[in-house]
Amino acid sequence: MAATEDQLARLSKVKDIITKASQELKSIEVNREIDLEFDVGNLLVTDKNTLDEEAVYDPDTRPAYLQSLARDGIQALMSKVWDLPSHTEDNAVFVTLPKTTTVLPREKPVPKEKALTKWEQFARDKGLTKKKKDKKVWDHILKRWVPRFGMKKVQADKEKNWVKEVPGNVDPYEDMFAKEKELKRERVAKNEYQRLRNIAKSRKLKVPNVGVTGNDLATSKDLGVAMHHSRFATASKGKFQPTLPNEQVPKGLGKKRKHEQITGDGRAEKKRYMEVLKKVEKNELNLSTAVHKQIREENIEADLAKKGGKKQLRRSKAGGRHRTRSDHRASKLGKGIHESRKQKISKIKAKQETGGLGLGKGRRTERTGGKGKKG
């Protein structure tokens, strides 16, 4: 009897275990009316089944019901995930997720393929490959490792090229070092131009062929020249152009005055001086100028004597030309100043002819009539 009781007990235990196990086995199954849809790549489960509205709306049953929904969904997803191909790394099992099926918009548009530069095209056509260059190069002249580029390379080059041989066909007075520097500048500028041209080509801009340089390579001198040009291109030719707070207007720009040569033959100089001398030593008497001068002086003195004032020198306070009384009289008569001067010229000539006797107003040689003396 005891044995059977034990047996019964054991049997019931076994039964319990079996039922438990079977329950657990069932527990990974998920049965739904409409099958769940998966996007394993995104770990996404879509449940299209109709919900138990009552269970959802009632706030008491809601949490439990929602949890059960979630649990079923996740359980189904796990079954899918565990069936994926796996591999073990670092004591952990990894599964490779498949590609996502949900269409999600991208963050940025698909990049356009970059156009190859001229060099890249050429290299591709010729089949050239990029060769990795070392940072340092063995220099057999200096007997040490010199960097391929940079400040230290320039210093090393200076060390090496402290002297330059002048070949036979080159002008001995030419500065070879300056020439080298200039050539290097040209090479750098050319490279920069080509780089910018590549960029322009990729952005589909137009580039002028000549006279282009980038912002970075302009020396302060070049920038000064550019600024001078921009100032000069104003209505006042830069004279009344206001400067910016810290701007320094560069000096020495603009048209330079050309001085003549001091050394060399002095033929041009001699010619110039002779011409000046000729003008100075002229014996010709310009009659009209001499006469004008004479008249002026006489008139001034006469007027001053009458007025009784200081002799007014050239600059008159009233401004303008100094007009004497006789000038005004002449203009009143409607003859104009020059007309009166002409009369005076004829007067003086006549004086000269008569031998310097002033005949005066009334004494005309060929006057007839009037009160005068009768001959």
Binding site: G41, I74, E107, K108, P111, L196
Partner: protein, 311 residues
């Protein structure tokens, strides 16, 4: 002296790397998210946004309070912020009498707004309201969408898309089997969407596939769709355009023989025999031919001592 149009050139490698990171790519970076809130949001909404930020900490930025933004009226400030931080998702929390407990979710394409949806938050329970151990930060969540509305109604469909985009995290290829920790549930009824967040516990079952048990941890909220502003069809199409992935073509003209050696076939162009190089080939020279002949003779006869020494 012409100077060319200014080209933004990075001054050091770090700047260059930052620029390269922001460029459009074939395989894109994980979408960054921006969490914003206005000046008068109130504690409720601030807690809410902080909790969602906690879920997405790896790929998001929580900014300090902004001047009042009205994304539905003027989206430019948001676009500008997103451009600065290189973010294409954003969540903006606000609170007003007219729109209490407002949450606006949006996404961008090429730094311009794509979709915008305004949700009202109800019955909110934050992370601190569930007193249990949470999950590791940056965990990729498993998402469950329940309810027929997500298939039938346009608004719900778009919302589903936005939510997937929002919570998906990194586009992972390999996942550790023990790494499934987080589960998000979105249940749609006629008027509300219930969002729940659980921790996944994997229990032993009889088979190799574990039994899943859930424990509620995270923020729990009831959302109501208020206003929407979805992208037009052509913009959507443009945004969803995928690049042509480089197809690995079949390698032709290659084969392996029985011993495993790789054999290849080369197809030559027709050789113009008239253009063959015969001038500088030593083998074809007459003198060498003569020398060869003498050599052959010498090998047979032992007359000349020179040949013998060579041997």
């Amino acid at each position: 002296m012409t100077v060319m149009q200014r080209v933004v050139k990075p001054k050091n490698p770090r700047a260059k790397r930052a620029l390269v990171k922001r460029e459009p790519k074939i395989i894109e970076n994980t979408k960054q998210c921006l969490f914003l809130h206005g000046k008068k949001t109130g504690e409720f909404m601030r807690k809410c946004i902080k909790d969602i930020y906690a879920l997405k900490r790896q790929d998001s930025k929580l900014l300090q309070s902004q001047d009042q933004l009205l994304p539905f009226e003027d989206i430019l400030p948001v676009e500008r912020l997103a451009h600065e931080h290189d973010a294409s998702l954003f969540a903006y929390a606000s609170h007003s009498k007219k729109r209490p407990n407002n949450l606006i979710l949006g996404r961008m394409f090429n730094h311009h707004i794509l979709d915008l949806i305004e949700l009202g938050v109800d019955n909110y329970l934050g992370l601190e309201d569930f007193k249990n151990k949470k999950i590791t930060v940056g965990n990729k969540p498993c998402m469950v969408f329940c309810g027929t509305q997500f298939e039938d109604l346009v608004d719900y469909k778009n919302l589903k898309n936005i939510l997937i985009d929002f919570f998906r995290g990194v586009e992972a290829t390999d996942v550790r089997l023990q790494g499934f920790e987080h589960a998000l549930l979105f249940t749609a009824t006629d008027d509300t969407i219930y969002m729940r967040s659980y921790k996944i516990l994997l229990k032993k079952s009889g088979t190799r596939i574990p039994r899943v048990e859930l424990e509620e941890i995270g923020p729990c909220m009831d959302l109501k769709i208020r206003r929407t502003k979805f992208a037009s069809d052509d913009l959507k199409k443009k945004a969803c355009r995928q690049p042509k992935h480089l197809k690995i073509g079949k390698k032709k003209n290659q084969s392996r023989d029985v011993f495993g050696t790789k054999l290849g076939r080369i197809h030559m162009t027709k050789q113009d025999l008239g253009q063959l190089q015969t001038r500088k080939m030593k083998a074809l020279k007459k003198s060498s031919a003569k020398a060869k002949a003498t050599n052959n003779e010498a090998s047979t006869s032992t007359a000349e001592p020179m040949e013998v020494s060579q041997e």
